[in-house]
């Protein structure tokens, strides 16, 4: 036995690690190896490939050209007014939808939790929008708001010929409504999970002490649900930031409603400019990483919160 391995052995003994523990750890790695390999194949490889492409001057329409482009694709994206405009649009849609969804989602979670009769029916009913394919939901909302075929223009107080997708404000309004309708159930479900972890005894004690419903909500429910709320916000923010389908169906980015994902699509699929498009994709990826970082470091989201046995 060499000096080095002997040192490792002593170190492990020092840490209190037994032979058995090591065996279990090895077994653990072997058991999750297939999943890790699959993850690497479908996630790490495409991400790595996109990063490689983003440093190249590669346009499928011009096969003779190409080569290493250095940082020029990133320069082109970051110096473009369009990128910042679309980043703003995306952030705008993200902030508004997530904020609205949090409020409505909390209300729905409370209703689901407190529902006395038909609890199952309420929970299933709330989840229906989330079960509908985003593209289908986007078409449904688009048809509802089209002046010639939709019903919205026929409602009282709304101009019959209002072209909802013809100006930026109303187009954003419809996009945000469709997004909120579609994904609020997701937030509600995560919040419901958080609600069920709160001990009912706390409410009873508060009631005995004379706390009213509002006080109970702000003093007990909210603080104890903070981990669940932050996890729900993190998931939904990451999801909302990649908004694509709804905008693609409704305006395709017209009226200045374009999101960064649509910008990437235009470079990659419409222009077949793989270098520039990959640079946009990589920048979106970094934006998502930054959001996750802010949530985890800034707000202290603990993904493993509530896990037993720790």
């Amino acid at each position: 036995m060499s000096v080095a391995t002997e040192r490792v052995r002593r170190f492990r003994l020092f840490r209190g690690e037994t032979e058995r523990g090591r065996e279990e750890r090895r077994l653990g790695w072997m058991l999750c190896a297939p999943a890790v390999i699959a993850m690497l194949a479908v996630t790490a490889y495409p991400i790595g490939y996109a990063i490689v492409l983003s440093f190249q001057d590669l346009d499928l329409r011009f096969p003779e050209e190409g080569g290493f482009a250095g940082l020029s694709n990133y320069g082109a994206v970051l110096s473009s007014e369009l990128w910042w405009q679309d980043l703003f649009n995306t952030a705008f849609v993200t902030v508004i939808t997530v904020a609205v969804e949090l409020v409505i989602g909390m209300a729905i979670a409370l209703v689901m939790y407190r529902a006395i009769f038909g609890r199952g029916a309420v929970r299933v009913g709330v989840l229906v929008p989330y079960g509908i394919v985003t593209v289908v939901a986007a078409f449904a909302w688009q048809f509802a708001f089209l002046p010639d075929v939709g019903f919205v223009n026929k409602l009282p107080l709304i101009a019959d010929d209002k072209a909802w997708f013809g100006d930026r404000f109303s187009a954003f309004a419809v996009i945000i409504m469709a997004e909120v309708w579609k994904t609020t159930p997701f937030i509600a479900l995560l919040l419901l999970a958080g609600l069920t972890t709160i001990d009912d005894g706390l409410y009873e004690a508060a009631r005995v002490d004379g706390a009213n419903a509002v006080q109970r909500f702000f003093r007990i429910t909210l603080p104890l649900m903070k981990p669940a709320i932050l996890v729900a916000l993190l998931f939904r923010t990451l999801d909302a930031f990649r908004v694509f389908d709804t905008i693609f169906i409704m305006t395709r980015g017209a009226q200045d409603t374009e999101s960064v994902s649509i910008l990437g699509f235009n470079q990659l699929i419409s222009r077949l400019n793989l270098g520039l498009g990959s640079a946009v994709s990589v920048l979106i990826f970094f934006s998502v990483l930054i959001i996750a970082f802010i949530f985890i470091r800034g707000f202290g989201v603990r993904m493993a919160e509530g896990r037993p046995g720790r």
Partner: protein
């Protein structure tokens, strides 16, 4: 689009292709010994493509069997599906149904085979010169012209005594009637149709977008005239309320609803009105596409399909023969009869099928295609089209009295686009 950040989805595409191959979609030979050819083309409601595919398969005497693979009617969506396959060198595509503006891009990307001389002569015989140009790139023929298409001015004969000849006259007449019956229907959503509209206006004013595949033309005088027309209509009370999201279909629906006096649209609008709005169709007049300048003839938009042969096809010989058959005069007449698509062969306009499909206006369709102003031929066409849409949409953003700033914006965006620089 969960996968989106991870890249262009190359892996997924490959996986799907593999699945398709396993399922037998890519199989080349069927039991009878006939070669199976896949024809990818945008769906048409009348069923003419199914009809010609069947006839040509039968006429090949067992040499090949044409399978239709239908693409979305929206040109951009159809193109997206095609370029993803062609970019991945998918051998399941044999015959490519191409919109007239795709030729340069597909040819430059080396996705198409050049037509051999003899076949080339055969498929262009009698075809409008304007249409042959759309199938040609760097003096080589890459497509067999199938159907053509063009826009006419449609108007209400019960409201308008004499069709206007210019856009200004048309807007004047519409404004005289007012928004309650004088609306003007165009295609000005942020999409390819918007580029087609701008190009037609600029060509009518005597200018071109490009003077070569990578050189911007955009002469100041004619461009200003074209922009002024867009700006005037965009800001007029008789622009359709949904002008900023208008397409061929919303224009047709708007006209059929009865409160419009004018519409520029493709020939399908006539048959559509006959079927959906007989009261409107009764008073539906037709005239040449409006001029921009009174003393210059208009140059209407040019649409249609050319049939190319994929560079990745395993059966190019059969595919060239199939493309020739699918686009021959008989096939063109089938498309006219069942789907109202104008033939690309000029000699067919005296045929009774065409006369019946375009009662009274077959000659107008013919002269309109003959004098049409094609959109620019460049491998960077998508960039050019996106740049035009970005800088000019919505039309109401153009000040008709002072188009200078819009002109400068358009010019600088186009200079970037032909060099394929920057985001679009």
């Amino acid at each position: 689009m969960r996968r989106y950040v991870a890249g262009p989805g190359v892996g997924l595409g490959t996986a799907l292709c593999t699945l398709a191959l396993l399922a037998g979609c890519g199989g080349s030979d069927n039991g009878g010994g006939a070669t199976s050819l896949n024809w990818f083309v945008q769906i048409q409601p009348g069923g003419s493509f199914q009809e010609v595919a069947k006839r040509c398969s039968d006429e090949s005497n067992g040499r090949y069997q044409i399978e239709l693979e239908l693409l979305p009617t929206d040109a951009s969506q159809a193109r997206e599906q095609l370029v993803r396959r062609l970019g991945a060198e998918d051998s399941t595509i044999d015959v490519v149904g191409m919109d007239v503006v795709w030729t340069a891009e597909f040819a430059n990307a080396e996705w198409l085979r050049e037509f051999p001389e003899q076949e080339g002569r055969q498929v262009t015989k009698g075809v409008f010169d304007s249409v042959v140009d759309t199938a040609t790139f760097e003096n080589k023929l890459y497509g067999a012209p199938f159907n053509s298409n063009t826009q006419l001015l449609w108007y209400r004969t019960d409201e308008i005594k004499q069709a206007p000849t210019t856009w200004d006259e048309m807007i004047d007449e519409g404004e005289k009637i007012g928004p309650a019956g004088g609306l003007i229907q165009v295609q000005a959503n942020q999409y390819e149709g918007f580029t087609a509209w701008f190009n037609a206006l600029l060509e009518s004013a005597g200018g071109h977008i490009l003077s070569g595949p990578e050189t911007v033309d955009l002469p100041k005088g004619p461009t200003d005239e074209a922009l002024a027309v867009m700006g005037r209509l965009g800001n007029s009370p008789v622009a359709a309320p949904d002008i900023d999201t208008s397409t061929e279909d919303t224009a047709r629906l708007g006209f059929e609803a009865g409160d419009s006096a004018f519409m520029v649209n493709y020939t399908f609008a006539y048959a559509s009105a006959q079927a959906n709005a007989p009261d409107v169709a009764k008073n539906m007049g037709f005239a040449p596409y409006p001029r921009v300048v009174a003393n210059k003839p208009s140059r209407p938009p040019l649409g249609g399909f050319n049939l190319g042969v994929s560079a990745f096809s395993d059966h190019p010989e059969e595919a060239f023969d199939a493309a020739a058959c699918l686009s021959n005069p008989d096939s063109q007449l089938t498309a006219t009869e069942l789907d109202g698509l104008p033939p690309s062969n000029q000699t067919l306009y005296t045929d009774k099928v065409v006369r019946k499909a375009y009662p009274g206006f077959a000659d107008l369709v013919e002269s309109s295609i003959d004098t049409a102003g094609p959109r620019p031929a460049t491998a960077a066409y998508q960039d050019v089209s996106l740049a035009i849409q970005r800088s000019l949409h919505p039309p109401s953003s153009i000040d008709p009295d002072d188009v200078t700033s819009k002109y400068d914006e358009l010019r600088s965006d186009l200079e970037d686009a032909v060099k394929r620089e920057g985001l679009l």
